[in-house]
């Protein structure tokens, strides 16, 4: 226990110790960036909270309050899973401190447990923020008595454990597969991301199977009854969460005590299995990761010349994909954004909503555009960590006898390629699933491309202004860095603009039920024009102002 607490304390100190100055000698204002993003996102936060509040009112009327809690806890866990699983694998299995920790005279299980708890504490912040959005408005809507808010706090603390513990167990076969593909360059990253995609796919399939979006007003009584049974069955299937949810809406004190006890026992058993089994194979697994067999790679001794920008991109891409951490972060968006989009469009299809396709198609296409822009761009780690990922090799860029503009272009182009691929896939998926006309899909790709170039430039620019160098795990550099935070804000504004323009042109659909022939083409023309202007301005700002930022960075 002593070893565990010492290791945990050190890990937390390393993570949360505030750096007063950044690599460029400027005052570290990451907290300010958090506040700005938070304030800017307030309208969205309010919108989500309001929707959850209304859902709470509906659930209360339908008599499925506990089930509602269950789904919200599951949604909270989905967010933790989304943000935490890659962090967990990176912290536990791919961290550079492993070589330092393994020779210490402490039990492997202590190292493993300390790292797992460290990830949990890190993710708890996400859990708490998500809870404020989901559980609190819901509790207000269902008139939860005051003492249950205290129980809510306990639930908020306990709930994020489930995805992390399940992730820890799933990581064992995952790491075995990765170990098998180790030193196979890009294949390792692709296998890793595909497995993660499978995990998310299964999760969303589960949620989709047991839930459905139904317009409440249009439901006949029989259908509503079936829906309530479906919601009820689905909630009970997620037993640990259902038990936790019951403690938030107990019929009696004994039910509260029993549910809480069962929930705690289930979580404890899961923790016992996760830590017990994982720590048994932990040493072997990480040691396999540390092995560097002298494996010759099939590369030509002399390579074709591709010019300075090309050579910089080639070297960057190789380094990106030969590192499972970075490769995963980079490819993650390519897998996860289309998966979520597919499930979203399935849920909002005409059959589910009982609406006319002519009414729904343009709305869904704009919705898909806005969603993909936000998700696809904000998860583009190759842009938000363009300079951060150089880490201790940043000096190489500074000593090279080349014009900085070449370095900047190489960074923008490489990052832009990944997000462009995600966005084009998303446009095709959205086009197929909404049965959109091909020219609108092309227009969508055009809007994506312009916004992508503009946003990628800004993301690279912001990362250059405050890069996080000298990290031990890529997670430290990639997550919560100012560029990632500011990128969220930019992408959010972009999403609002797209929805706003869409809303203006598609408004007649909601009032008179039809659109004039020019409305959709005009909407896409305006979107294309605005994106083009945005691209030109962002790119110019980046190209003109980056040199001095680069020169200021000292390592």
């Amino acid at each position: 226990m002593r070893d565990f607490s010492i290791i945990l304390k050190t890990l937390l100190r390393q993570k949360f110790r505030f750096q007063k100055y950044t690599a460029s000698g400027k005052k570290n204002r990451v907290l300010l960036a958090f506040i700005i993003v938070g304030v800017a996102c307030l309208p969205m936060i309010a919108l989500v909270a309001f929707s959850v509040y209304n859902t709470g009112l509906v659930m209360k009327t339908a008599g499925v309050v506990t089930e509602g809690y269950t789904y919200l806890i599951t949604a909270l866990q989905a967010v933790v899973l989304f943000t935490g699983i890659v962090s967990m694998l990176n912290t536990i299995y791919f961290s550079k401190d492993t070589e330092f920790l393994l020779p210490l005279p402490v039990k492997t299980s202590s190292i493993y447990a300390a790292k797992l708890v460290y990830v949990y504490i890190d993710e708890l912040i996400t859990g708490v923020l998500t809870s404020l959005l989901l559980l609190i408005p819901y509790a207000i809507a269902v008139n939860a008595p005051f003492f249950l808010y205290i129980q809510l706090l306990l639930v908020i603390i306990i709930a994020p454990m489930l995805p992390l513990l399940l992730g820890a167990i799933l990581a064992i076969p995952l790491m075995w597969v990765i170990g098998y593909f180790k030193n196979k360059g890009i294949i390792t990253s692709i296998v890793y991301v595909l497995l993660m995609g499978l995990l998310f796919g299964l999760y969303y399939y589960f949620i989709y199977k047991y839930t459905g979006t139904v317009a409440e007003d249009s439901l006949p009584g029989e259908m509503l009854a079936r829906l309530i049974v479906s919601i009820s069955d689905g909630a009970r299937a997620i037993l640990p969460n259902y038990l936790l949810a019951k403690t938030l809406n107990p019929v009696s004190f004994s039910e509260y005590i029993l549910s809480f006890l069962y929930a705690i026992l289930m979580y404890a058993a899961l923790m016992f299995v996760a830590i017990g089994v994982s720590s048994l194979v932990y040493r072997k697994t990480v040691m396999k990761q540390l092995e560097n067999p002298k494996k010759k790679m099939v590369v030509k001794s002399s390579e074709k010349r591709v010019g300075i920008v090309g050579a910089l991109m080639k070297s960057d891409a190789k380094r990106l994909f030969r590192d499972p951490n970075m490769g995963t972060f980079t490819l993650f968006q390519l897998i996860i954004v289309p998966i979520i989009l597919v499930f979203m469009l399935f849920q909002f299809n005409t059959d589910n909503l009982g609406m006319d396709a002519a009414f729904l198609k343009p709305i869904l296409l704009v919705g898909a555009l806005a969603f993909t822009l936000f998700m696809g761009m904000s998860t583009n780690t190759s842009a938000t960590s363009a300079f951060t990922r150089e880490n201790r090799n940043f000096y190489v860029l500074k000593m090279l006898p080349i014009d900085f503009k070449n370095i900047l272009k190489a960074k923008i182009y490489l990052a832009g390629i990944f997000s462009e691929a995600t966005l084009v896939i998303a446009a095709i998926v959205a086009g197929i699933m909404t049965k959109a006309d091909w020219y609108y899909v092309l227009a969508m790709i055009g809007v994506y491309t312009f916004l992508n170039i503009g946003t990628t430039s800004l993301q690279v620019f912001i990362d250059l202004a405050r890069p996080r160098l000298n990290w031990n795990t890529f997670n430290e550099g990639a997550k919560n860095n100012p560029s990632a935070l500011m990128s969220l804000l930019i992408d959010f504004v972009m999403m609002i603009v797209v929805v706003g323009i869409g809303g203006i042109f598609l408004y007649p659909l909601f009032t008179v039920g039809t659109l004039s022939a020019w409305a959709e083409p005009a909407m896409w023309a305006v979107l294309l024009a605005i994106s083009l202007v945005y691209m030109i301005i962002s790119y110019e700002i980046t190209i003109k102002n980056s040199q001095k930022l680069f020169e200021r960075i000292e390592q």
């Binding site: 000698g25 002298k294 001794s301 010349r305 090799n393 006898p401």
Partner: protein
Amino acid sequence: MLKIENVSKSYAKSPVKAVDGLNLEVRDGEIFGFLGPNGAGKSTTIKMITGILNSDSGDIEINGISLKKDPIKAKMTIGYVPDEHNTYDKLTGNEYLNFIGEMYDVPQKTLEERKAKYLKLFHLDENANEQIKSYSHGMKQKILVIAALIHEPKLWILDEPLTGLDPESAFELKKLMREQADNGNTVFFSSHVIDVVEKVCDRVAIINHGKLIAVDTLANLKKDKTVSLEKIFLDITNENNIETVYGSKL
């Protein structure tokens, strides 16, 4: 030729200057040793010469080219071996050298010839297609040495270059340094291993607290032939002894 003129450098918000008004001239064809205790300002100076750090004041000229006015042209003539072995370790040795060759605009044919020559010299030819992360400490050092030589620089800067090298490679490196100097190039060499500095260098500078304390040939520094450079170094860097050794601070 390397000329450092009144160069100073402070780090963010630190009241103490890491390098304080440094003036130094290193001639063509000489191996110049740069000595100093930990934290004296050696690495900061070297990073300023290589363009990794900017100086707060003063200028650095490399072969008559101002690093401030024309950094790209100046950097073209520098080869740098860093003290830490941080490099693109996900690339193979070959890929890294190809990358550096392209950055320094070395013609393809010449690059291939030089790669073959140096990889063989440092016994890395067998490992050239392995990722650098699988290299030992010494092998990483060797690939960095080769990368610094691949464009045949006029000024070769080595920061603690012998760390981790096996005796044979250390010998080859010292021989290469001499060859470079004999060809009219400049070798700027920082080390803690005073014995090596004593054997290899033509002139030596000693820096402490960011200020130059002594710069001279070994013969002139060693007024008393029986005293080792190590003793001189220890005496000079001990502030109380400076005046005893030199009469006054430089």
